[in-house]
Amino acid sequence: MNESDGNEALVRLGDRAQSLDRLLEHRTRLGACVLLAQGGPLAFAQLRSLLDETDGNLGAHMRKLEDAGYVEADKQFLDRKPVTRYTLTRDGQTALERHLAGLQELLGVVPAPAAPRSAQEK
């Protein structure tokens, strides 16, 4: 690889990093969107259990996703208990796909760090 090729790759890497969605950079928000994309509407309690998050943290993250229009919340009462169910919106789906593609490309360009020598020997 000559110098100009290397520079081009770096520029592409920079572009990819720019294309990542700031909102989805947090693992909980990314996890919530992936789970919603995979399994349709999910209740708050289900997300909390799957992501192993506290009520307060998850509530704050979901509110950010809701404000950005990535998820929609539907509040209902079941057996007199409030149940909030979240759905990924079309915008959320598009943003997630773009973010995941960017991540994949970024991580594909930069090889994973080698495992420690002792682990390799095992």
Binding site: R27, G31, V34, G40, A43, Q46, D52, K81, V83
Partner: protein, 200 residues
């Protein structure tokens, strides 16, 4: 570089959450088990020996039939834990009487289903009508349990059961028609349940 390794960690975290979600989906298996037993018994009841291997399996493993209630109880507990509402799960912890009120009719029904299924499959009753009736009851109970897992189809299941019971004394062709209907109901019920559990 550090943020890239952070990204890898985040992706691993997301992957673990997705795996957890997929593991929870597998709880659907017992519904299929109940549906299989129900279909098997019902088909035998209408004179179609469709799967001798399955009959033999049920006949030779009666404890499995009795294990079905425990599976259902397990699923119920999982569902209750996950669908407990927005507040912390502990806030809605059911009292002992809540649990008993829910469990007791189910246990009676499920144990009855197990007993009837075993009686229907193991004991030869001389009177063919009586045999058919016992086997029918076992099949219906199994089907009821399978269908009641899919709440939306519970009423369809009950209606079909009543229709079948009303037609107990009618001819073989009617049996076949209603057997097919029931089979369709069971498959729909199991599919519905599986789709519902995919959202878990």
């Amino acid at each position: 570089m550090e943020s890239l390794s952070q990204m890898r960690d985040d992706l691993a975290f997301v992957r673990r959450a997705v795996e957890r979600q997929q593991r929870l989906r597998r709880v659907v298996l017992p519904w299929w088990f109940a549906a299989l037993i129900g279909v098997s018994v019902l088909l035998r009841c209408i004179g179609i020996d469709h799967s001798p291997a399955l009959h033999r399996f049920v006949r030779e493993n009666p404890p499995l039939v009795f294990l079905a209630p425990l599976w259902f109880l397990h699923i119920w507990r999982q569902r209750r834990k996950l669908g407990a509402g927005d507040a912390p799960a502990d806030a809605y912890a059911p009292t002992k009487s809540d649990v008993w009120a829910f469990v007791s009719p189910w246990m009676v029904l499920l144990l009855g289903f197990g007993l009837l299924a075993i009686i229907g499959l193991r004991i030869e009753i001389p009177d063919p009508l009586q045999t058919r009736f016992v086997v029918l009851l076992a099949g219906l109970t199994a089907m009821h349990v399978g269908l009641s897992g899919a709440t939306g189809l519970l009423y369809i299941g009950v209606a079909l059961e009543l229709g079948l019971l009303a037609l107990v004394f009618l001819g073989q062709n009617t049996w076949t028609v209603f057997g097919s209907l029931l089979l369709a109901g069971l498959v729909l019920g199991a599919l519905h349940e599986e789709r519902a559990s995919e959202r878990v």
